[in-house]
Symmetry: D2
Subunit: 341 residues, 4 copies
């Protein structure tokens, strides 16, 4: 059946598979000591214009969030996130399982507001009883957010300033970073992000790879003995090549950016289609995830012809659903969808 | 350079890559709800002659050990393992990081002795102060062990009896299970293992896959809400197909067993070669890992022509090294090695 | 200086000290196996009219919350609490440090609303994605709450019904339980609480003891091997007599209830005093903690003559402060306060 | 019944109770901000001749071990201890519950050997695979040990040198420190210990107090935000006075040392008594715990007249038992014992 259910319904971009196949019989040492781990790290540092970055490859989003947060925080610290942040609600308590609190602040179209973060930090340190509280030790954002929205350069700069003022790292979950970078409506480039964040990751799983997230510590600030802690988390692949070769393909000839742009092109068409047919959007998303409010019966009927994701209840008779495009979405699929809606 | 460094130096068996490629553009839902997860689980249940098994796919060995042990133990329990068990020494404290002690007992060629396990359990419960001690809540073994050795059917049966007597699960780490099953010197079949163990896994990473371990809870005894805990560990792949499709290939037409047998054939040749040349073995291994004692200068010289693994210091002038064959080892590589040693 | 800063500014009630002194040279075995642990447990079971209760003694509130919650929850579960619950904000992340999320719901004068808890649970189980979320595994309330307020019998019954419907335990933090039970405005008795909660504790530290909290699992539902887990938390006193003898004193001749009533009598006088002088209350508290809104300059001036606790900012020119009475508050202290305010 | 079961069978030294009673109605702020916490810390710094020490008060031994170890170690580190170390076997996995491995080395009369520690560290760092292993991040010893034995000044100096060479802290569990300091056969003073260890604690629970351990970070090296982590562990008493006032008594007029010396005097008499009667000692202990090998029937008969502790099985017909003296042991009790044995 036609499916816009998510951006991880297909396998990998053919070029990624090709590189895996091409390198398959090269004998390579394990656990991240293969040559592709180093050469791809170099490519990523260049793409980020960030020569001092420590680059590491992990396998999936929750794993990456958990590893980064738990290895960068002190025991007495928690991480600030939006109430709708992925780590707040949809990772089964992965952060708390490492012993750290997720401190939630209000979301605005999925985003944190720098002034509210500052206000929280100001209040925390002003509170005479804060020694009995979890110290805010990091700010977590995702870009795009859970709602497909994006931080502007101004907004990200403001967040970075607040973090630097309080000397805590700014961490960007980029599980869908490609779709954010290639949005028609962003003023943030990859080097901008590398300059403003202390750590972020470039998502592969949802942008053309079978799995894999490239973690960038932007100023040689990977935690000491990071690989040992990755191993401890069960996150160190014996065949590290699986991650590094895939990213090698994605960061050769701008493949990562091209396929992300394709998904955005498809999303903009999809958006137009729904808009023209009079559908109501839950919010304005400039990326590959589009959130539409459907009347429940209409949702039921539509679901017989095309797959999409249930998102959340809107009211007693309406539901928010998500249609996602991806690197793999085709014009034919869009045309088919158009005929249905 | 010629390499017998490990059984994870190559990518995947070509048939595994072929199946990944073949299924690449099938839209499949994520997080283990794809059809291959279910159909492959069925194939594995059949191969194990274990119709009541719960089968789940995880990504790597340390992750799998950590997930299984921490989800099956109670807070007050630890896991018994040999001093040389993988979880005891080489997983960077992954078990302890989940809050559980690894209780070590002596190893005998890498194996636990059932009588010693029984004696430990007898003594524990006889000790009036055992409420101040970690309860032994599981027995962990690997098969093959860290030294390539195998449990006999009798030995495994005895361990299972002890575990059942004390009502604690017997867990077999089968990261290299194929090489154990296809050894010339084993009397343990996959159904035997499924009948004797409470949980075990069939290793993919080291036996033909890019990654992946198939976990078998042998009597519908997967912990309640297991997938939620897998997610919490950061071990639930968005593209679950990556694991399930690979195992689909491995468990079609007995591929897993055939390629494992090939590795064993290669290992037996390698063993003969070293034996004929008068090399001294550290111990008798019936599987794909061979441990040889080299005089240090000889080791240095050999390392200029072929890659192998340093294992441990033997004495001041000798070192134990490991040569591993795998599904990917070729006759040509063996011939080349023969010329060198 | 005159102090109404908290209910833990003094040592112990003289009768408690007397019993400690009187029993000081009785040789008693350690770790909770002394006769007073058993005899006092019996007294508490009787006071609770709860013959099937498991009673254990711990040392402080945060410790008790952490031990109870982490030993009763499964790995995949978190605990529901009000945003203002003690565990949510003022225990330095003690719950998260054991790997569990605190799931916060809105507070109403410090209390959870049963309908909102039910609605949260309904929505959770209705959500198709709840396997990726933390399971709500317990409801935590305190009585009195952080704001000194009390659940009515009707409210507590409703909460218990919701918990039973979803088969999760209802846990009451009774760090100040005595002051709740002896309030002029409560309809909840100790046996009512024992009948409605699955576990609760009777606070000693803030009600006449030097330390100590008596945990009551109301229907023989103490987690298996509870003492081993108490030991693991570093919460098992070698001299268990320190807790048991103090509670023996408190539960002899209704001392616990009498001294709690005295604190309430003092609080009611204090309330009248402030009311008559026209002070504004932040909310209506029926127990020993009174929250008053002071103009900031007035607060400054008052603080030169009497100690009280800063609670929270009210607005730019006003602050909420707390005056607490206790078992140790005297009429003379109240008279002195009256002269000041 | 006459009891030599342990050194925690009695309550507190009368002078300790007297000070608690005397200060009972002084209003004091909570959570370690009372004046006695500071003034007693000063007394302890002086007794240690260690002006730069950070001194904190905790409540019990397991709690103290768990707090110190988990707050000083990094995520990738474990703690080295003797196989018979208290943390290795008798704390129900309290260290592992905080995520850290206890790395065990052989014991020699309960003690670690500096050369073996050095050798372990040398081998660890020489091992090419040590990034997959738990880093040794601290050395834990107890003094007296589990077997009542003591480190000599030379032995402790050697351990300190090894630790300093590898830049890891040396931690001494001093749950029974008084009895070690006052032994007839020690050449280690409190200032020596403070000079050689990075952190240690002065046990109160087993040396005259109802509870309480005084932690000494010897060179202002308390972990950052230590109190917040103490709170997180549930180890911060609301009535901090309970610990500080008891230690105030113990460190006034050398009470701690005098009562410890008394216990040693009693132990030496007890030792002579047993020796004269021809009893066989398990080992030579210079402190208050004496380990005696009894024939099992003899043990049974003796246990009808005097309480002692079962320690461990010696052989099929003999058992090791412990007789402990304490600050509270009287000449009358010894005389009574003499008549029995």
């Amino acid at each position: 059946m036609l499916s816009f259910e998510s951006d991880y319904i297909m396998g990998a971009h053919p070029e990624v598979l090709r590189r895996l196949t091409e390198t398959n019989f090269e004998p390579l040492p394990g656990y991240g000591s293969d040559i592709y781990t180093e050469s791809t790290a170099k490519k990523i540092r260049e793409a980020c214009k960030c020569p001092d970055a420590d680059v590491h490859f992990l396998t999936g989003g929750t794993q990456t969030n958990s590893v980064i947060i738990s290895t960068m925080l002190q025991n007495y610290e928690g991480v600030i996130a939006a109430t709708t942040g992925h780590i707040s609600g949809h990772e089964a308590g992965a952060i708390e399982a490492t012993g750290h609190k997720v401190i939630t602040l209000p979301e605005h179209n999925g985003k944190l507001d720098a002034d509210e973060v500052k206000s929280y930090l100001d209040t925390f340190y002003a509170d005479a009883n804060h020694t009995h509280m979890v110290f805010p030790g990091m700010v977590y954002i995702s870009h795009p957010t859970e709602y497909g929205t994006l931080y502007s350069k101004h907004e990200l700069t403001r967040l970075a300033e607040v973090c630097r003022h309080y000397d805590i790292p700014l961490f960007m979950d980029g599980a869908r970073l490609g779709y954010g970078l290639m949005s028609y409506q962003t003023d943030l480039s990859l080097p901008d992000i590398a300059a403003l964040c202390d750590v972020f990751y470039i998502g592969g799983t949802k942008v053309g790879a079978l799995c894999g997230e490239a973690v960038v510590f932007t100023h040689n600030n990977a935690p000491r003995h990071f690989l040992t802690m990755v191993k401890q988390h069960g996150a160190l692949l014996a065949k590290g090549r699986l991650n590094s070769v895939q990213f090698d393909a994605l960061f050769t000839d701008d493949l990562y950016f091209k396929i992300s742009r394709h998904a955005i092109d498809m999303a903009e068409q999809l958006k137009d289609m729904f808009r023209q047919k009079g559908y109501k959007f839950f919010l304005e998303s400039p990326t590959n995830q589009q959130f539409i409010i459907l009347e429940n019966e209409q949702m039921q009927k539509l679901s017989e012809q095309v797959r999409f994701s249930f998102w959340e209840k809107y009211d007693d008779t309406h539901t928010v659903v998500r249609f996602a495009t991806a690197w793999s979405t085709t014009q034919e699929q869009l045309d088919e969808l158009k005929a249905i809606i």
